[in-house]
Every structure is written in C-alpha cells, then in structure tokens.
C-alpha cells in the first residue's frame, strides 16, 4: 500500500497513435504521445493503480502510478577511453609546438 501524501510519479497517454498530427515521421505516428509527472498521491493506492495526484503547483493530474519517491539514475556512463587518447594527443601537440 502506498500512503496518501506520498511523493509519486504517474504516467499517462496524452494522444493515441490515431490522434497524432499528420506532419510527423511514420515511426513517431505509430506510437502514442506519453507523459510523466510527479506529485503527492491523493488517496492510498497500489502501484499500477489509476490515481490522482496534486502536483507542486497545486494542479490535479491523473494517470497510472509507476513510482514512489522516484529517483534520478543518470550518471557519467561507462568510461570512454578515447578521452585519454585526446588528452595525450593535444598535450603532445602543444609541447611539440612550444619546442619548435
């Protein structure tokens, strides 16, 4: 059970594929326009329930409950060793330039 007042994220479909505008590529037209928003849960609910939330600006939004205390997971990714090669290349070029 997720308690009323919990900080949650919901998901909803804004436009179904058939409702999308004409001037977009085929691959985009085939999929819905989806939306995610966070807010405080209005009633005790279960994950994946259709719920209402109150957002930070005090608006009411509804959609499927997908996360509680949603976190950020973006990072610096896997190490890209080419960056070390760039360092070496430019430092060497600068040094050689100074020696000339």
């Amino acid at each position: 059970m997720i308690k009323k007042g919990s900080w949650v994220q919901i998901h909803k479909v804004v436009l179904k594929p058939e409702e999308r505008t004409a001037q977009i590529p085929e691959e985009t037209k085939k999929v819905p326009l989806e939306m995610w928003v966070k807010g405080f849960l209005c009633e005790d609910s279960l994950l994946h329930d259709f719920v209402e939330i109150t957002t930070l600006t005090g608006r009411t939004e509804s959609g499927t409950l997908i996360a509680v205390n949603p976190s950020y997971h973006h990072d610096y990714g896997d190490f890209v060793p080419e960056l070390l090669q760039i360092d070496k290349l430019v430092k060497t070029a600068l040094q050689e330039g100074k020696n000339e």
Partner: protein, 472 residues
C-alpha cells in the same frame, strides 16, 4: 464553462491562449501582407537596456568572466600558417546561477511575469532554459512548470534532458515530461489555459533583449583585458535568440564591424520529430535540426512573432561535427582545466578552426559556456551514444554520419568548420514567408530586405524566380 480539451479545439484557441499568457498583441505590429514592425515590437515589449542590466544584476545574472584560452590558442597556432592564429577568449556563462547564459533570458521573463501579476511561469524546453526559468522563478517567488520532450517510445530518456529535469526539480519546478513529438505544444497550451500562468517563451521580446547584456559585456570585457575590440564573435545557434540578442548588444556598445558568426553542430539526416532518431543524436540543442529551420522561418516558435531573427544579424554561419565538439570539450579540460558542457562548446570548436584563418594579433570571442555534470558531460553523452550502437572512433571528421557514428578527429589539424551559404538561407526564408502570396506591397518587399539583411535587388530576384509580383 469547461472548454473542449481535445487536440484540435485547443490548437484552434492558440492565438487567444498566447495573447493572455504573454500579454502582447502581436497583430498590431503586422503590416502589408507579410510584414511586421520588428523594432517597434521589441521596443514596446522590453525594458530599456540600462534597466535590463540593473534587473539582471539585482537577480544574480550576468557579469561572468571573460577568459583567455592561452593554451588552446597555442594549440591552434601549431596547425595555422605562420603569423596566423587569433587569440581565443570565452565568456564563461556557465557561472550564471543555473549554469548557462539562459539565465539572462529567464530573468527578464520572470521579472515580466511577476510585474504583470502572474502567479507562475511555464516554459516548453528540454534545455538549459528550463533550469534557468526554474532558478529565476525560485528567486522571484513564483511558481514554475517546465514541459520537456524527454523519452523515446521505449521510455529511454536522453541523459542530458533527464539531468535538466533534475535541475528544474531541484529549483522547485514542476516538470512534465513527454515522449517525442511536436504535440508537446498541445500539452503546453493546455497547461497555460488551465493555470493562467505566464508563457516564459524563449522567443519573447524581453527574453531575447535580455541577452543584449551578454553582447555588451563581452565587448566591454575584451576592451578591459586587451585594450582591443574583438574581431569576430562566435555564437552557438539553435532558435536564434542567442545570436540575435548578442549581436544587438554588441551594436549597442560599438558601431565597429565585428563579425558575428553562427555555429551549429551538423545533424544532417536526423529528423527532430523522429522517435527512433531521438536518442541517436548526442546534442539536444545547438544543432542544424533547429538552427536551419529557425533561421529560415523564425516564426515557427511558440509565439506568433519571434523576437529571435538571426538572419538579420548573422555575417557567417558555420557547422562543426559532433566528434569535433567532443574533442574540443575534452581539450578544454586537458589544456585549460575548464570542464564545461559539450553543447556550449559548439562555438568553441568553430572558433578553434576560425582562429587559424585570422592574424595572431586578432581576437575571437566565444560568447558562452554551459555547466556540465551527470548526464550532460561529454563522457556521459559518448557512453550513451555507444550504448545506442553509434560507432565512436578516431578518423577524419568528414566521415561522420549523424546517427551512425561519431568521428573524433585523429589530428587537431582536421578540426575545420564548414560554411553554410547565407544566400541560400535567405532564399529559403523569402520562400517560406511568401508561400501563400502571389503579390506583395512595397512595404513587404522592404520587410524582406530587413529580414534577410540583403538588398532590394536580391529580394526582387528571388520573388521573380518564384513568380511573385510586387508593387513598385
């Protein structure tokens, strides 16, 4: 009475929603068939320059340091002809609150919203502008909603945009994220109507004139540091506001001809509204996918008449490749000890090449940097690209195909800007503006000369070729 909220109904109310949300009657500036009084629109809907400056200083915006990149200059000189290789400077705009020059635009939008009595602001942006509006809204004590295009249909978010959502939320904004598609504008309009908040458009007169302080400062700073005026200024170009505002600011401080060069990263072949292309690009702004359409038709923005009209101010427009920008971003860290975001370094990559055409005693100024960090960092972006099947390797930049590979230059001498023909862009702009017309008034023709920064003869030739008549 509840108004219908379906797509077509909301879009049909676009003009009235906009008028309420930005409090500008754009129609009153129109004349002839296609013309509009740009200068009058700016003058009547922005603040005098000195006041803009004062408002910004009062809210912690601007007065960023200008820094000479001595090692990068020395590196450029190693591959320039004898006597060539201008001094390269950057205006370190990353040091604004919220980490980019966008604070200059946001400060004016929030000031205006507060002054007009709006309870909050809304901006549709996936970029630094969202963080800037959220940060300034926090300062002004008004509410803020940021709408951003963030995910593809598989729910995979662009790391840079996810970081921007985090920043906006850190500044207390409500963030609404959508999948790919221009219908984000529908979500945006519905929110404006529902909340009655102010449209903190990137393209409003007060937003764009808010950047004039940047152009003014960079000349002032260059004079202080070197006793000279800059010879060239490079501006990363997407929607055109950065270039427009900077150029106007430069013209405020000096009548000298300082060359204004727009620079975008080349994303040729990738469609900006494509669900599958979305995560195959490593730059979410500053690219040709925005730059060229906005240069050739500025009024595609979220206001009826954009205050960003880059073709009026641009002396040259160059492109660089994604791999070149990543290379320069890493070089800035390695040689100057300055770690900044890749999108802000598009103009730096261009300047590295352009400096080599210039004399040693000349000065080229890169007018912005942006913050970096998780998601936004070039390491994060390259790693994300690699995970999406993009081939990353060293080679000749001309081998780069956007969405397929990223080519890191195998030698510094290979970093070279490519020139876009301004006359071709001028022709496109004229064609876009006259596409529903068969004849024009004399005033329209004069408007087209201003819009394209060309000549009466040039415009007449394009009109002739497109079978459009005009009044003499």
């Amino acid at each position: 009475m509840n108004k219908p909220s379906d797509y077509q109904s909301v879009l049909s109310r676009k003009n009235e929603i906009m008028k309420t949300a930005i409090q500008i009657d754009y129609d009153r500036y129109n004349y002839g068939k296609i013309g509009f009084n740009y200068e009058q629109m700016l003058e009547e809907n922005s603040y005098p320059f000195e006041l803009t400056k004062a408002i910004q200083i009062d809210h912690g915006v601007g007065k960023t340091p200008l820094k000479e990149l001595k090692n990068l200059t020395a590196l450029a000189r190693t591959c320039a002809k004898p006597g060539k290789g201008a001094r390269i400077f950057i205006k370190d705009e990353a040091l604004n609150d919220s980490g980019s020059f966008k604070a200059r635009r946001a400060s004016m939008a929030c000031y205006q919203a507060k002054k007009l009595g709006f309870k909050g602001v809304i901006a549709a942006t996936s970029g630094n502008y969202g963080a800037a509006v959220a940060s300034q809204a926090a300062k002004y004590g008004i509410k803020c909603i940021i709408v951003q295009e963030c995910y593809d249909s598989k729910g995979v978010g662009q790391p840079e945009i996810i970081e921007k959502a985090r920043a906006c939320e850190a500044y207390g904004a409500e963030v609404i994220q959508t999948t790919v598609g221009p219908e984000l504008f529908y979500v945006f309009l519905k929110l404006l109507e529902e909340t009655g908040y102010f449209n903190a458009s990137l393209y409003s007169p007060f937003g764009v004139t808010g950047i004039e302080t940047l152009g003014y400062e960079l000349v002032e700073d260059t004079l202080k540091l070197t006793g000279k005026y800059p010879d060239k200024v490079v501006v990363t170009n997407a929607g055109g506001g950065n270039l427009t505002g900077t150029a106007r600011g430069i013209k405020r401080i000096t009548k000298r001809p300082i060359e204004i060069i727009g620079a975008s990263v080349n994303l040729k072949g990738l469609h900006m509204a494509s669900d599958t292309d979305f995560n195959r690009k490593s730059f979410t702004t500053g690219h040709t996918g925005f730059g060229i359409p906005f240069v050739t038709y500025p009024d595609r923005s979220d206001v009826p008449r954009s205050a960003a009209r880059p073709l009026r101010y641009m002396d040259r427009y160059v492109t660089v490749r994604q791999g070149e920008v990543f290379f320069i971003t890493e070089t800035l860290v390695a040689l100057e000890g300055i770690e900044r975001g890749p999108a802000g370094n598009i103009s730096l990559a261009a300047a590295f090449s352009l400096a080599q055409e210039m004399d040693e005693n000349q000065i080229i100024v890169v007018q912005e940097t942006e913050y970096t960090g998780a998601g936004k960092h070039h390491q994060a972006q390259l790693s994300f690209a690699r995970k999406n099947g993009i081939d990353i390797r060293f080679g000749h930049p001309s081998e780069e195909i956007p969405g397929v590979n990223i080519i890191l230059p195998s030698d510094i001498s290979l970093i070279k800007t490519e020139e876009l023909e301004l006359d071709k862009l001028r022709v496109s702009l004229i064609k876009n503006l006259v596409k529903n017309e068969t004849s024009l008034f004399k005033s329209d023709l004069e408007f087209l000369v201003e819009e394209t920064n060309s000549s009466v003869e040039f415009v007449k030739n394009v009109l002739k070729a497109n079978h459009i008549q005009w009044e003499e």
